[in-house]
């Protein structure tokens, strides 16, 4: 599968994502520049973590107007696969490609630590290589990861299975302590209603090598790659 990782000014995990895809997983992956309009024929677009445009105003608010985002919107509306991690998730929400928004963590401070999430829906292109109920150990590192959406919208999302990952403890149980940022309904990842656009706050690209703590991020990338 051919992947494109978008580099915005202020992207930070762009090289790490490319490394995870290319060097660790042996995928065909290329860097895309935010000022370009072309997606270079990729089959999956990854919007990486970071502080695009310094996260000034609101995380992702300015990046969503980068020239490449037009193409990403078009690509998504044609059914192309788009995944946003951390800042990428924030950008996708700002661009209205995903429902809801990400706001300041409940603690008001940046949090970098390993957390656990549970796979809530394994019938999506982003989770199909895993099983429902699987618990993944992944790192988070963000200051604005508290997921919010309108109550009616949340209910609808739950019904359709758009809540893809939820924070939980190491044994997969729900617990207030296991929700690191205070996200509504402990939501860590969501998809759009067509299930081709996906955003997650944890960093799968930082969980691909045992020496660095976890390989659970591979499940996400393998799911996507298994399409072709």
């Amino acid at each position: 599968m051919k992947w494109g990782v978008v580099r915005f000014p202020g992207s930070l995990d762009d090289s790490d994502s490319l490394y995870a895809l290319r060097d660790v997983m042996g995928q065909d992956a290329t860097m895309l520049w935010h000022k370009d309009a072309t997606l270079d024929g990729v089959e999956c677009v990854l919007l990486p973590g970071g502080f695009s445009y310094g996260d000034y105003l609101r995380a992702g608010a300015i990046a969503r107007f980068s020239p490449i985002m037009r193409s990403v919107e078009k690509f998504a509306s044609d059914g192309g696969l788009v995944i946003g991690t951390c800042n990428g998730f924030q950008i996708l929400c700002e661009a209205h490609l995903l429902p809801g928004a990400l706001t300041r963590n409940r603690s008001l401070s940046f949090i970098c630590e390993e957390i656990h999430v549970r796979v809530e829906n394994a019938r999506t292109p982003f989770t199909r290589a895993m099983r429902q109920g699987d618990v993944l150990k992944l790192p988070i590192k963000h200051g604005e990861g508290l997921y919010v959406a309108r109550e009616a919208e949340l209910l609808q999302m739950e019904e359709r299975g758009q809540v893809i990952l939820r924070y939980c403890d190491a044994d997969g149980r729900d617990s207030e302590d296991a929700n690191p940022n205070g996200s509504t309904r402990a939501i860590a990842a969501v998809a759009n209603d067509r299930f081709n656009v996906f955003g997650m706050m944890p960093h799968p690209e930082h969980a691909v090598e045992a020496m660095l703590g976890s390989t659970d991020g591979l499940g996400i990338f393998r799911s996507i790659a298994s399409r072709s």
Partner: protein, 744 residues
């Protein structure tokens, strides 16, 4: 040649004015001699910053010269923006530490943030990509009214800046002590990697080469900031200097990192330096001075945030995120294109000349015209008197009651100095760039080098309590502690950077502390074969006449040849042998125990540097052979705390330890809680114990089997302590957040 003119409306330059600029009468006289006339106001400003302690090292230079600066691995010693060491496989590590103490006390968030920004620029101007940061923080007593505010602001600022530029913060230290109530310390470290043979320089070459300005526009930020703030003692009045606070823009810094590293690949950069303290003045004059050349700058071309800035202000501004580049003539376009790509502008503001003068023009006038060397090299060098204070340190207060050992252990684990610093470091991105094998929480950070089996280990340490008792031994202890932390991971210490935080050097007793500190640093560095390749001096850390304790902050870089052999601090398997090795007997002097319960000593145990080096060698050899399962340095809180910490693996169900103190002759307060003797708690599988023991005994050290790792999560230090490890862990983890959440 027309000499520089004063401008209409500029203040008159006389002795009074020179004094207001922090110059001594003799210094002012010397300036007039060097120029053959009275300087203009703009020139006076330039001299005052360049001849400040901060930029000229006038009081410290004589001592710093004595430090060991060479080894076969040193690629760049002091003199450039940062030092560099060959770490193998074609890589060079570039690193430095710097203070941002006073700005952080005035405005903690921005002060700490801009401290991080400044040290990053020192690294990437060497052509190295920054790969990790560390910080060393000293606050006042935890319950001092300003401490929480300062702690929150400083940690927020370090995270706010570091997280946004994509450089992981991988280790550090935090201490609370009433001695810092009015003068906190914020020391920031950064390390980068470059390919061997591809370092850049800050030495101008080629008369006629253009000088380019890159980055943020110039504002009134920090004028007389670093120089005055860092050179003047702190009192209530300086709080009123607030409007000059510098604000950091990490987003622009990130663009600068990428753009500069990309621009460097064109080969069109001759020299590059960031505009740090003393901004345009220091960067331009220092680059010219290093090349033995002159430089001419047209101030009308400098991008300004506010058009009303005067030449004086433009030259002295310390606005952040700005770089000065000397380019190869005719290749400006290539550089401009790279910076445009990153939405930054490179603007030609001057050129290199061959007349060895530092000249600035503004609106058709020459506003400054000074021999480059006068500014950058001819600051006076002082051999300041150094002798001990008349009064000696008062003898420590005796303990009235001896607490129970288990009570003391719990008190220690909940002391902010010993307790987990997770509250701090979880606010830092410690994993970006994907190299952090061991992040904050370990004895030292371990970073792999992609495409190589090698890894780097890093730690920063200081020991002001020991330095207060004995500034020489305290400095030695700080070096060996940082080095030992690095060796505990299996890495061999290869280089040192340091930030020397002291009081007012014009006071002989402070100067003695400083001289002794430098001597200790030098002796320890020599003994460990780890040269000092960069550093920073921060004097005048005083409030209302009271100096901080001498605080040399030491960062050590270690290299391991095979990252898969790295060692961490936590016990691994039940049944493993717990062993300790020590270079001397512990003591309560300068200990956390004495600071809580009283009863310290007024002398430190001697340090045998030969044994310290042997300990490091044995740790490295043992881990390279895979004989060590865990190694943890005994530091604040002594042996009892170190063994407890080794049980605290946050990643998995806790293990316990069973140690019969009585049988080993360790069942005393000093044995349990004493510090100062380099001591390491090691665990190893029983089959490896004898081989490991031989590694130590072959080097004249004794590795003592003191107990076993247990599956039962209890800490048993018979007959004194028998505690539930999970309960202790909660005390240790909850201490900082709990205290911060409680009112007051």
């Amino acid at each position: 040649m027309a000499s520089a003119k004063s401008l209409v409306g500029e203040p008159r330059v006389d002795l009074e004015q020179a004094r207001a600029h922090g110059l001594s009468d003799a210094e002012f006289e010397r300036i007039r001699q060097l120029l053959g006339r009275t300087p203009t106001f703009t020139e006076l400003g330039a001299f005052s910053v360049m001849w400040s302690e901060h930029c000229s090292y006038k009081s410290s230079r004589k001592h710093l010269k004595t430090l060991p600066q060479k080894s076969e691995l040193v690629v760049q010693g002091p003199g450039e923006n940062a030092g560099a060491i060959d770490v193998g496989d074609g890589w060079v590590a570039v690193f430095k530490i710097e203070s941002h103490n006073h700005p952080s006390y005035v405005e903690p968030y921005q002060g700490a943030a801009t401290g991080v920004g400044g040290i990053l620029r020192d690294i990437f101007t060497m052509g190295a990509r920054p790969i990790a940061s560390m910080n060393s923080l000293k606050f006042g007593a935890f319950d001092h009214p300003r401490t929480r505010y300062l702690l929150g602001g400083v940690v927020g600022g370090i995270g706010g800046y570091g997280n946004c530029v994509g450089v992981p913060t991988v280790a550090g230290e935090v201490m609370f002590d009433a001695a810092y109530n009015g003068n906190i310390l914020v020391n920031a470290f950064c390390i980068g990697l470059a390919r061997a043979g591809e370092l850049w320089s800050a030495k101008a070459r080629g008369p006629g080469n253009p000088v380019l300005y890159v980055g943020s526009a110039t504002g009134r930020d920090g004028i007389h900031g670093a120089s005055l703030l860092a050179s003047a003692e702190f009192d209530a009045e300086s709080v009123a200097k607030r409007p000059t606070v510098q604000v950091g823009d990490p987003f622009t810094e990130k663009l600068l990192i990428e753009a500069c590293l990309e621009a460097g690949k064109t080969g069109a950069i001759v020299a590059i330096q960031d505009m740090g303290a003393a901004g345009l003045t220091s960067s331009s004059s220092e680059m010219a001075a290093r090349g033995g050349l002159g430089i001419e700058i047209d101030l009308d071309r400098v991008p300004l945030r506010d058009q009303s800035l005067t030449p004086y202000e433009i030259l002295l501004s310390e606005s952040q995120e700005r770089m000065l580049i000397v380019a190869e003539r005719g290749r400006e376009r290539e550089l401009e294109a790279v910076f445009e790509k990153w939405d930054l502008h490179a603007i030609v503001i001057g050129e290199i000349t061959d007349d060895q003068r530092w000249r600035a023009r503004w609106r058709g006038e020459i506003v400054a015209d000074i021999p480059v060397a006068a500014l950058a090299d001819d600051a006076p060098i002082y051999d300041r008197p150094a002798h001990p204070p008349v009064a000696r340190t008062p003898a420590p207060i005796r303990r009235s009651v001896e607490p129970r050992a288990d009570t003391a252990l719990r008190a220690m684990l909940s002391s902010p100095n010993v307790a987990s610093k997770r509250w701090v470091y979880r606010q830092y991105d410690s994993i970006v760039q994907g190299n952090t094998v061991v992040g904050p929480g370990g004895d030292a950070a371990v970073l792999r080098i992609k495409g190589s089996r090698r890894a780097l280990a890093l730690k920063v340490d200081s020991n002001p309590r020991a330095c207060a008792i004995d500034p020489y031994l305290g400095a030695v202890a700080s070096v060996v502690e940082a080095a030992r932390n690095v060796a505990c991971t299996g890495a061999r210490p290869v280089g040192i950077t340091n930030c020397l935080n002291y009081g007012n050097p014009e006071r002989p007793e402070i100067m003695l502390q400083f001289a002794e500190g430098v001597r200790g640093l030098g002796d320890a560095a020599r003994a460990l074969g780890a040269p000092v390749v960069s550093g920073n001096v921060s004097f005048y850390n005083e409030t209302e006449g009271r100096a901080i304790p001498p605080t040399p902050t030491i960062a050590v870089l270690g290299v391991m040849t095979d990252v898969s052999r790295h060692v961490t601090a936590h016990f691994k398997n039940p049944g493993d042998v717990i062993a300790i090795v020590r270079t001397a007997q512990p003591s309560l002097a300068a200990s956390e125990y004495a600071s809580i319960y009283g009863g310290g000593a007024d002398a430190l145990p001697a340090i045998d540097l030969g044994r310290e080096n042997a300990l490091i060698e044995a740790l490295v050899a043992g881990s390279e052979q895979g004989l060590i399962k865990s190694a943890h340095d005994v530091s604040d809180g002594g042996l009892a705390v170190a063994v407890a910490e080794a049980c605290f693996n946050p990643e998995q169900a806790k293990l316990g330890a069973e140690i019969d103190l009585a049988a080993r002759g360790l069942a005393g307060i000093v044995e349990l809680f004493g510090e100062g003797a380099s001591c390491v708690v090691i665990s190893t599988g029983t089959p490896h114990f004898q081989a490991l023991r031989r590694e130590f005994s072959g080097r004249g050290l004794k590795l003592d089997d003191i107990g076993r790792v247990t599956a039962d999560a209890r800490l048993k230090l018979a007959p004194l302590i028998d505690e539930d490890v999970n309960a202790l862990y909660r005390i240790y983890e909850d201490a900082l957040p709990g205290r911060l959440a409680s009112d007051g």
